[in-house]
Assembly symmetry: C2
Homo-oligomer: 204 residues x 2
């Protein structure tokens, strides 16, 4: 065999699948051969779902979360407390907090975390939108900074605190029932729920 | 949030990715959000490589392996021994054997293994093509049955043997024994027993 693969098509597909994070060459080959055994229409449904997500996804104009319309289902829910805004890094964090069933406020999705090493500056995140939103809410609102307990999370929390403190809102942070350095998305929902209920005033 | 996902598009993509073997819901969500962070053209290249493989893949008319043309690179190689045919379950096995650098014959890819539990009958595999090929080769050829050492592998090997034996070819099978570097104390007794029965003259 001239190359490692018997077919350029197979090689290209393995290369594409292997570019996903956490998927090695051997797994990529296994997945490519699995897809090859599926009927063509099944494979097309698979790739269409991914293209569709990439091409047509929209973001809630209130909280910047992935949404199907202008406003996400949470922001559209009138029974939720719109004066309590939980600031999170990503959609996954929203899903984790929703699973606890402990939170009835709304969210603000930053779309990342300040990280000079990864070249992510405050302007790459939705902090400006958060500041405007908080200013519009006025002083009797609450902002919960639900960020990871690592250096980037703490830095981002501190940066946001300085931006929104002038608006006079109450700023709280998750109770540190979570160990330092723990990633929010891997926390079990009981711990995460408790940390949310026992949130404390942010004192930098 | 009404469902578990903030967007139907995201849910569909997670469902599609999660249908891959060995990919759980949490990994599927992580991969979907990863793809969402990539530029659209990157995602399109990813899905096109997969569609391309599924739509345009061809199989070697000699050995039934994945190929880019009518005949695969191995069957097209005149320097290889075309009178020695190694029968394997899948393309992955061809790649594993090629990586050893120990084999200079050609292959025959069955496309699976006889498994009544999974509903795979001999007619679902390329056994008929193998029998025709062996008949055309004539009696001084060799067929190596390089199948797994489990019940399905043994069953398939026995079935194929009965089909091709009338052609008078030499039929061999992979040596079964301890792997290189295997610890004797951890070998299962069936493997150890076979290794003992099939012991070879010690040539240091």
């Amino acid at each position: 065999m001239p190359g490692r693969y018997p077919s350029k098509l197979l090689e290209d597909a393995v290369e594409a699948i292997g570019s996903l994070p956490g998927v090695g060459r051997k797994s990529a080959l296994r997945l490519a051969l699995h897809l090859l055994r599926q009927p063509g229409e099944h494979v097309h449904r698979f790739t269409e779902a991914i293209n569709h997500l990439s091409d047509d996804v929209r973001y809630c104009r209130e909280c910047m979360m992935i949404a199907d319309g202008d406003v996400c289902a949470i922001c559209a829910d009138k029974t939720r407390d719109h004066r309590t805004v939980c600031v999170v890094e990503s959609v996954r964090d929203v899903m984790s907090i929703e699973e606890t069933g402990q939170y009835r406020g709304v969210y603000h999705v930053l779309g990342g975390i300040i990280s000079p090493i990864d070249g992510i500056a405050p302007s790459d995140l939705t902090i400006r939108q958060l500041v405007e939103r908080v200013q519009a809410l006025g002083p009797d609102a609450e902002v919960i900074l639900a960020l990871s307990g690592d250096v980037e999370g703490e830095t981002t929390a501190f940066y946001i605190y300085r931006q929104i403190a002038p608006a006079g809102v109450r700023v709280s942070t998750l109770a540190r029932g979570l160990g330092f350095g723990d990633d929010l998305e891997y926390a079990d929902s009981l711990t995460l729920g408790r940390a949310l209920v026992n949130r404390q005033i942010f004192k930098p």
